[in-house]
Amino acid sequence: MQDPDFLHAMRIAEALIFASDKPVPAARVQLALPPGVDAQAVLTALAARTAGAAVELVEVAGGFAFRTALDLAPAITRVVEVPRRLPRAAMEALAIIAYHQPVTRAEIEEIRGAALAQTTLDALLEAGLVAPRGRKETPGRPTLWGTTPRFLDQFGLKSLGELPRKEELVSQDLAVLELSALPAAETSPEAA
């Protein structure tokens, strides 16, 4: 083990594994070593030397790699808050619920002109932004949806009345569209 060739081979293996972007198979380490030195023995010695160190040689799927010791993870990692953005479909559904509540899923789809996945509605429900508001007395008695106080919190609104009137948002663009003809439009937020 104290043979200088073997020590040099250990240096090579260490540097090679350090520099590789993927775990290095023993066969690949062998390619870099001087002839006559066995990669497996070198790797075993390297693993033994680094065991318990800040950076350890570990065998993972596909070969050997260096990993920082697990006990150090809390010290070196930084928790970064990365607030999620809602996907576009969820944002649109949320906006429609806000403006047309109480509104059924079918009505949301009708207004959006696109299907609304159950998972999207679930995500809004889970985030606490919308909640069921009873059922519509039509065949099938579909659930009616409305926004929650948490919705107001998230958008920094005191009340739904602080939302811009929807006519201000869409009337010019959608002159063709008879706003009042849309489902559940009677209960618009500014009236609520």
Binding site: D21, R67, V80, E92, D173, L174
Partner: protein, 251 residues
């Protein structure tokens, strides 16, 4: 020497590069550079190149012409130069400065190239670990995004909904004519304004205008048959109707 430069002319990055090479080949001190000897060599090179290939790059010829000018001025006694003319010594100094700076930058490039480079002579960790743990539990929501989403949804909704014009019931001429006929008798012999013959429940201005137009056409039609008389005092004045002579021919 000029032969080898001639052969390599294409490999030079322009005349400045070649000038520097000429200066270095002679181990010239750039700060005490003999512009004159440099000029002669450069001109010889360019002349030689022209004999081989006529299509010498313009920049080489411009430099050659400028150097020839510089040489002639440097040889000329100072008193014989025009007062407006650029001082050839200053021009020569500027060329020397440029060559020096180019020499320095080339040396800097050589110095950099001689350093151990990351990824060639030395290596960094190939598979860095992520030191950031992202907490994605929060939601990034803003009112602006909500409103934009609403507008986008409505716009799409409008675009995907097939356009079906609202069935609009306008007062037809036929309807106007029969209403006119039934009313004109009841109206008595006096004049009545056209608007008195409009149907009831006209909601919008459009409905009203359409009915007015239909009724006028119907009235003209009836007047043509003699069942009705029409009068208007002035343009845009109220149009008035009364039953025609044939309608109450009896009394």
């Amino acid at each position: 020497m000029s032969e080898s430069l001639l052969v390599r002319l294409e490999s030079y990055e322009g005349p400045l590069d070649a000038l520097l090479d000429l200066a270095r080949a002679q181990k010239l001190d750039l700060r005490r550079i003999s512009i004159l000897s440099l000029v002669d060599q450069f001109l010889a090179v360019v002349e030689g190149a022209r004999r081989v290939r006529l299509e010498l790059q313009a920049e080489w010829l411009v430099m050659a012409a400028w150097l020839a000018w510089l040489k002639s001025r440097l040889l000329l006694p100072e008193e014989e130069r025009g007062p407006e003319e650029e001082d050839p010594l200053l021009a020569a100094q500027r060329l020397t400065d440029r060559l020096e700076e180019l020499a320095r930058m080339r040396e800097a490039a050589r110095w950099l190239a001689g350093r151990a480079q990351l990824g060639r002579e030395t290596f960094a960790r190939g598979a860095p670990e992520s030191l950031r743990v992202e907490d994605r539990s929060g939601l990034a929501l803003d009112l602006n995004g909500l409103l934009r989403a609403y507008v986008a949804a409505r716009r799409r909704g409008a675009a995907t909904r097939p356009f079906t014009p609202k069935p609009r019931k306008l007062w037809s001429v036929g309807e106007a004519l029969s209403r006119l006929r039934s009313l004109i008798g009841e109206a008595g012999p006096g004049w009545s304004t056209l608007s008195a013959f409009l149907p009831e429940g006209l909601a919008t201005p459009l409905d009203r205008k359409a009915a007015l137009a239909s009724t006028l056409v119907a009235a003209l039609e009836a007047a043509r048959g003699g069942g009705l008389e029409i009068e208007q005092d002035a343009p845009f004045a109220p149009i008035r109707l009364r039953a025609g002579a044939s309608a109450h021919a009896g009394p």
